[in-house]
């Protein structure tokens, strides 16, 4: 076990020992730089001003403050500048007293800044520290949540799977649960926050980091979906969970696992949502070369992607390792899949080509789709169909109906 550095008056948070291992081999300096510092700053501010990913929930004035401190693209400097605001909120929360709703808002804000401090993945020691703080802040906020967030540790191949489970309060019996899988740069904390909206519908959430990220015990590789099969085993053993109503949601890279589980776990799942799933082309060298430099992603896309694979150092090694994950290559697309399944996508997605969505829709059992002709990754737009709107109007009603 690795024990994260703790702040005063704070219980140490036990981190999965694999946490700091993902991407330790990657040499980010060998990947193309996607934006200059000035370009990063301009784009960050613009996204913060419209409350868009990956700066949703950050205060524009504070974003300006953090950006102003940056004089280089150094990852530790990045982590330090955002963490400074995170520390401020953390202190404010502690001052208000743990376990109070007032403090919760502060801890949640701290979590958002620490998360952006480690964004997209912890490729430096400073970012690793920020990630640890992000989890501490989130769990501090969770202390006053009703219903509680249960940190579940499932023994797995000599290590453990860490999941956050949140079940609706006062349920009259076993409840449906959606397993929500984070993506390249979103984490189980984000999943718990997003699926909060399903609790009033009597649906619980079990949030996970995807293989190769966060506290996941396995890297991105064919077969890593078995960690979720183990999580399903665990859920089915719980008396408070309705084992006939277990669904899976995956967004962005997390949707790759959703698409896989729709096949491998079709007997045990009752519904699957895959939002912008990488299927085949997204793993091919020709496409990945462009994905290294897509302006849709803020920065560090190449090394972040590479960090999910075990032992990958260079772009060349990454391109070679990526191809093995194609669902075509692995034969998954010839298999029956869960019904119902919803696929959400945007035609202008530069991270997962729409051809992957066409391919998935033409495979397996019938699927529902929501396709935005003007949407990018996740089907999102800069205005109108932003992430929370897609979630509220498309994903959530579909899940509620599927788990009814």
């Amino acid at each position: 076990m690795v024990v994260a550095r703790s702040l005063p008056n704070e219980r140490p948070v036990r981190l999965n020992q694999t946490t700091l291992r993902h991407g330790s081999a990657v040499r980010p300096e060998l990947f193309p730089v996607m934006r200059t510092l000035d370009e990063v700053k301009t784009e960050c501010q613009a996204r913060a001003d419209r409350n868009a990913y990956p700066l949703s929930g950050l205060v524009p004035a504070e974003v300006r403050e953090a950006l102003a401190r940056l004089t280089s693209l150094d990852r530790d400097a990045w982590a330090a500048s955002w963490s400074q605001i995170g520390d401020r909120y953390m202190g404010a929360g502690e001052a208000l007293g743990r376990g109070t709703p007032q403090a919760r808002e502060k801890f949640m804000a701290a979590w958002r800044y620490y998360s952006f401090a480690r964004w997209p993945v912890p490729l430096s020691a400073g970012k690793e520290r920020a990630y640890g703080k992000a989890m501490q802040a989130f769990l501090a906020a969770a202390e006053s949540l009703d219903p509680k967030v249960e940190v579940v540790r499932i023994p797995f191949e000599g290590s453990e799977i860490v999941g956050y489970l949140r079940l609706p309060a006062n349920a009259g019996g076993p409840v449906p649960v959606i397993i929500a899988i984070g993506g390249l740069d979103s984490r189980k904390e984000d999943m718990i926050e997003r699926f909060d909206a399903l609790l009033p519908h009597g649906i619980g959430c079990f949030g996970f980091d995807q293989p190769g990220t966060g506290e996941a015990p396995v890297p991105l590789a064919p077969g890593s979906e078995r960690m979720f099969s183990r999580a399903i085993d665990y859920l089915r053993e719980r008396a408070d969970v309705d084992s006939s109503k277990i669904a899976v949601f995956g967004g962005s890279f997390g949707a790759h696992w959703a698409a896989k589980l729709a096949v491998t776990e079709r007997e045990r799942l009752c519904a699957v949502v895959a939002q912008s799933p990488p299927v085949h082309d997204a793993f091919q060298p020709d496409f990945l070369h462009t994905a290294f430099v897509t302006k849709e992603y803020l920065f560090d896309r190449g090394p972040a992607l590479a960090s999910m694979y075990v032992g990958v150092e260079t772009p060349e090694q990454f391109l070679a390792a990526a191809q093995r994950n194609s669902l075509v290559e692995q034969g998954w697309l010839e298999q029956p899949s869960v019904e119902p399944m919803l696929v959400v996508a945007g035609v202008h997605d530069t991270q997962v080509p729409i051809a992957d969505i066409d391919l998935l829709l033409k495979s397996g059992n019938p699927k529902h789709a929501w396709i935005n002709p003007n949407g990018g990754h996740m089907g999102r737009e800069a205005k109108g169909w932003i992430d929370p709107v897609i979630f509220k109007k498309i994903t959530m009603p579909w899940i509620v109906e599927a788990l009814r």
Binding site: L361, K362, P366, K393
Partner: protein, 376 residues
Amino acid sequence: MQQAAIAQPAPLRTLAEVKAEALARAERGSYPLIGLDPADVRTALAAIVTTDRDEWAAAWSAIGDRYAAQGDHVRAWRLYSFARWPVPLSAGKQRAYRKAVDAFLAYARDKRLPLQVVRIPFEGHEIVGYLQMPAGVARAPMVVSIGGLDSRKEDLAERFAPLLAHGIGSLSFDMPGTGEAPIKIAPGAERMFSRALDWLVARADVDASRVALYGGSFGGYWACKLAVSERERLVGVVAQAPPVHEAFSSEFARGNFTNTEYLFELGDAMMSLYDGAETYADYVRTSPEHSLVAQGFVGKPTAPMLLIAGALDTQVPISDVELWLRSGDTPKEAWIHAGGGHMGRDAVTWRDPVIFAQVTTPWLLRVLSPTKGPSA
């Protein structure tokens, strides 16, 4: 080469093969023999010895007549309809079509369906539609439905009747070039439905802010057009297996004459729809003019839409549905069956009525609900 390209290909199915296929489809309750009794199908098929269209019409009509005499108008209607199938290209089939309409109306009276035949003046002619209004609703939300190449307003009126129980009315039409439609297919023929919408929204018993539209197969083509041209007046449009672009290519037009997903005569039936397509060569040459790309509809803003399709469709390539899904300004919903053929249907699980009940109906109920469907 040139000669071969303009010669109309011979059908791939022999009469014996048509009979075997028709019986197989009847036995699994599948299109276009849904609702026919396999015993009746066997009797009719036994009476058919040539591919003569009048002989076909007579064999099915004979059984239809028997049911009509017994007052079983629904069976009579289905048999007469199959007697004119796919389109009345002979005098005998035309007679069968008239009988089908009469039998259907008799069936509607027997069942006390709240069905009115409406006649909307249109360019010196009239548009004939079937209107069904729900009881006890002051201003009803509505679904306008449009038939395809071989389905008719009778089929649609029957299919949409279950929505009455949800307080939703329906208005059903034959598409241009079929049934009682006043015009054949030509660019702009969708104006007959715009005229029908004018008429519909002027009714005091209709909620003009809640009108949706459904079109299946070739009817889906009009659904796509109207999703653009009438997007202000439609809250939602369902297009099931709509031909959009490639389906109108000359290559596809030629292929219609040898299509075996369709029971028989797909090419001849298609040809009969178009204004000015007198010969096979005319049809193959002019078909591409009807593409929604050629006519400038692809990429235009649309009303909210649901597309339904099968990846194995041989009458409308799935690429047409993909093209429509990725075009325009509004997100579109879809239901895609990887193992489905035309209309997204398969032979076992996802038959037409199942898709209608589990996919089409819930979507229509959603967009017609007072709290509206999804929009950003």
